[in-house]
């Protein structure tokens, strides 16, 4: 029955959006970190979504064709800001520290977008649930 598939599809979307929100929270938490070299500096993380279009793409945890999953989490490729701060104990031999490339404003926008998408899917599931309850009540008519 197709209408109960909605719960599964909505569930995969809620899960994906929650991972996106977690990633954003991690980015915000690490926005102020500094590192002694460019390689060790924190790079913002981005989630890439993928639609589950065929049976083969689904797995045991989310066996719903038409849902969505987090395909991969990639590093933001923006340049790492370099700050001259010779008093910092982790500064390199030239006196530089390397900050994270996270932009707080971008992350807040990302967080809002993820939370709106989450709410959308909650509404979808709620509506489907109400209709299903009404379908069950049909026999009482």
């Amino acid at each position: 029955m197709p209408i109960d598939q909605i719960f599964g599809i909505g569930g995969t979307a809620l899960n994906a959006q929650l991972i996106r929100m977690n990633t954003t929270a991690s980015n915000l938490a690490n926005a102020g970190t500094t590192a002694p070299s460019e390689g060790e500096a924190f790079r913002g993380k981005r989630t890439i979504f993928k639609a589950l279009m065929t049976e083969e793409m689904t797995h045991a945890g989310a066996a719903y064709v038409g849902g969505v999953k987090v395909d991969k989490i990639i590093d933001d490729q923006k340049p790492i800001p370099k700050l001259y701060d010779p008093t910092n104990p982790i500064a390199d031999k030239d006196g530089f520290v390397y900050q994270s490339n996270v932009n707080e404003v971008t992350e807040m926008v990302e967080l809002m977008a993820a939370s709106r998408s989450y709410q959308n899917n909650v509404e979808v599931v709620n509506t489907a649930r109400e209709l299903m309850m009404r379908t069950l009540d049909i026999i009482k008519a």
Binding site: M1, P2, I3, Q5, I6, I9, G10, T12, A13, A16, Q17, R20, I48, F49, K50, A51, G66, G67, V68, A113, S117, N120, N121, E123, V124, T127, A128, L131, R134, T135, I138, I139, A141
Partner: protein, 129 residues
């Protein structure tokens, strides 16, 4: 039991198709942030023709061409043309999908009401009062 199996009429099948449509819209909404995802829509007429055979043109001669919709492999799925194209190739427009989902839920309820009426009449007939 001819009566009972036909009593619900077209609404039983319509409810199934309406459920499918809601599922499809749920898919679109779930993939609102997926890059390159193309929004899809159900051609209600095509699907109803599929589940209700016998309402198409009859071919009376061996050389008659089949009517385009009679091919039998039409799943009724169409790609929606977006109002605005987004940079990541996603054609889901959330407000449009939300509006459609709301309307689809209304349609589903309408079909449910028809079914409720039918079931009510059958119960009345069976009770005989």
């Amino acid at each position: 039991m001819e009566l009972l199996s036909t009593a619900l009429g077209v609404h039983e099948k319509a409810l199934r198709v309406r459920g499918e449509r809601m599922e499809l819209l749920a898919r679109n909404i779930a993939n609102g942030d997926t890059p390159h995802f193309k929004s899809r829509e159900l051609d209600f007429k095509a699907v109803m023709t599929e589940v209700l055979p016998g309402e198409t043109m009859a071919s009376t001669h061996a050389t008659h061409f089949a009517f385009a919709d009679e091919s039998g492999d039409d799943d009724g799925l169409r790609y929606r043309v977006p109002f605005n194209v987004s940079m990541d190739g996603n054609t889901v427009e959330m407000s449009v999908e939300q509006a459609k989902y709301g309307k689809a839920a209304g349609d589903y309820q309408a079909t449910l009401s028809f079914l409720e009426n039918r079931v009510g009449s059958i119960r009345k007939a069976l009770r005989g009062d």
